[in-house]
């Protein structure tokens, strides 16, 4: 039977083996990114290299017991809690003291099998401890052993830091992925909403063609809080119609009259809207236009200016149709005073129909005064004549009994 005596291990063999261990440990540690795997592999290789049957590695990730990890081999089960508690106390004691990285004897409190400790720091709030039992040989840890242990632990620290960084990056990636998914969902919802907005815009732009400008503005300004309850306000009202409309229709036919109305009323729109008027209603040969400016004299003046422009434009259009059609006469009546402006809501089983309109004595009077006009005349009520007297000369043309109006009404013409 042959056996080697302890002193026969040559220094060269020992050094070669330690170098090989260093190489193996480095290769093993950096081939994994799992925190526990790195700790376990490091511990097994270190224990194997030094011939140690009991060993542990402790890492305290935060300042409490739950954040601590202990991986150990060879210790009795009943000693493990004591080992963990002692390690936690130890890492708290050494944190920030700067004595990491040196091999020391186990202080009181550690199980008696613990021969040496090697604290190490991973980060400010993360301390670790390598715990080693006695060597199988019974020899003490030598200076050479310490040197190798410190080098191995330095490798461990780098590997653990890499693992922590990888964990953090992985976590950030997961968070980023979740954010991306949220963004993608939001983008899909936004696209759907945008499509709805496009459809609604298209509907709006088509519907707006049939809606008074005043109403459009109110809807855009008030949005979801839309409240268009009818309310009384001061307005100037212009009522105009085509003289002899029924006769002309019979003479040239409804289609030709429709073309004529479009042609004439189109140029009237410029006159109306440049003077801040709004077409509230149309009815074949007539238009009901309301002027809403804040100042009473301003709105009356705008109505009169619009009427004069319409008269001028009518003459121009008449010229273009000379020889083809008889010249049209557009009669206009203008009144000023209170009127009810707002929506009327008609509810039925078939749905709800809304109408934006204005009504009241001032509106009725405009229609009646207009009916008195002939040959393209512009007639005003007394109130309107009063309001525009500073920039426009008016002449009373008499007092008239108008249909469904109790008191005779004085009418003014523009001279």
């Amino acid at each position: 039977m042959e056996s080697s005596r302890p002193d026969s291990a040559s220094e060269l063999d020992r050094r070669i083996y330690h170098l090989k261990t260093l190489y193996d440990v480095s290769s093993e540690l950096f081939s994994s990114i799992d925190f526990d795997t790195i700790l376990r592999n490091f511990l097994l290789m270190s224990m194997g290299n030094f011939g140690i049957s009991k060993g542990a590695v402790f890492v305290q990730k935060s300042n409490d017991f739950d954040g601590a990890r202990l991986i150990c081999f060879g210790f009795e089960d009943e000693n493990i809690d004591a080992l963990k508690e002692s390690s936690l106390r130890m890492t708290k004691t050494i944190a920030g003291r700067g004595d990491s990285g040196s091999v020391m004897l186990a202080p009181e409190g550690f199980p008696s099998e613990v021969a040496a400790l090697l604290p190490f720091g991973l980060a400010d709030e993360c301390q670790g401890l390598l715990i080693l039992g006695d060597k199988l040989t019974g020899d003490a840890i030598t200076e050479d052993d310490k040197e190798l242990l410190i080098t191995l632990v330095n490798n461990l620290v780098v590997a653990l830091r890499n693992a922590c960084s990888f964990e953090r990056i992985s976590r950030l990636n997961v968070e980023l992925q979740a954010k991306n998914e949220e963004l993608e969902t939001t983008l899909t919802e936004l696209k759907a909403a945008l499509r709805k907005v496009e459809i609604l815009e298209s509907i709006k732009s088509n519907l707006c063609k049939f809606v008074p400008t005043t109403l459009k503005r109110i809807i855009e300004d008030t949005g979801a809080t839309l409240c268009l309850d009818p309310k009384e306000c001061d307005v100037s009202v212009m009522f105009l119609d085509i003289e002899g409309y029924t006769r002309i229709t019979e003479q040239i036919g409804a289609a030709a009259v429709n073309d004529l109305v479009e042609r004439y009323f189109s140029v009237f729109m410029d006159a109306i809207y440049t003077n801040n008027g709004d077409v509230i209603e149309t009815s074949g040969d007539g238009l009901l236009v309301v002027f809403f400016s804040d100042d009473e004299r301003t709105k009356a003046g705008e109505a009169v200016r619009a009427a004069l422009m319409i008269r001028e434009q009518t003459s121009k259009v008449n010229e273009t149709y000379r020889g083809r059609y008889q010249p049209l006469c557009i009669n206009i009546g203008i009144t000023s005073g209170p009127a009810v402006v707002g929506t009327n809501k008609f509810e039925s089983y078939t749905g709800v129909r809304w109408a934006y309109t204005t009504h009241g004595a001032t509106v009725n009077l405009a229609a009646r005064i207009c009916s008195q006009a002939r040959g393209g005349a512009v007639f005003l009520c007394k109130e309107t004549a009063q309001r525009v007297k500073d920039f426009c000369r008016t002449t009373s043309i008499g007092t008239f009994a108008l249909k469904n109006i109790q008191e005779p009404v004085e009418i003014f013409g523009i001279t």
Binding site: M1, E2, S4, P6, T21, M45, S53, T137
Partner: protein, 129 residues
């Protein structure tokens, strides 16, 4: 039949259990050795001989695996012997203290002769029949 890489050939001669292992002894070896040890626990031999190849490499984790098995065997009063190591690893086994747990022999035959006696070939042949 010779074992393949990372395989154990198991042989019982009298009260000796022989494990002939081919390949390096590293972490990958751990399950093979541990399984072999578990298998013999139902009929434990009083002596175990680990027979390695002379060119086998033992990394530090492989040594830890051997140490753990040998400590288990020691706890059950099983005598452990090792043969086939290179001179380098004989020194390393000595350095890390494995020689406290197992006797090292230069050769497989030398180990058998020491454990089974001078008639080991006959004993082995008879048990093998």
């Amino acid at each position: 039949m010779k074992p393949g890489k990372n395989e154990i050939k198991e042989e019982r001669v009298s009260d000796l259990l022989i494990w002939t292992f081919k390949g390096d002894v590293t972490r990958q070896t751990k399950p093979v050795l541990e399984e072999a040890y578990r298998r013999q626990e139902s009929h434990p031999s009083s002596k175990i001989l680990f027979n390695f190849e002379s060119e086998a490499y033992f990394n530090s984790e492989g040594l830890k695996v051997l140490i753990d098995l040998m400590l288990k065997a020691k706890a059950l009063n099983q005598h452990v012997a090792v043969s086939g190591l290179s001179d380098h690893f004989k020194k390393i086994f000595n350095m890390v203290g494995i020689t406290r747990l197992a006797k090292l022999y230069d050769s497989f035959e030398g180990a058998l002769e020491a454990i089974l006696g001078p008639d080991w070939e006959r004993t082995r042949g008879k048990d093998g029949e």
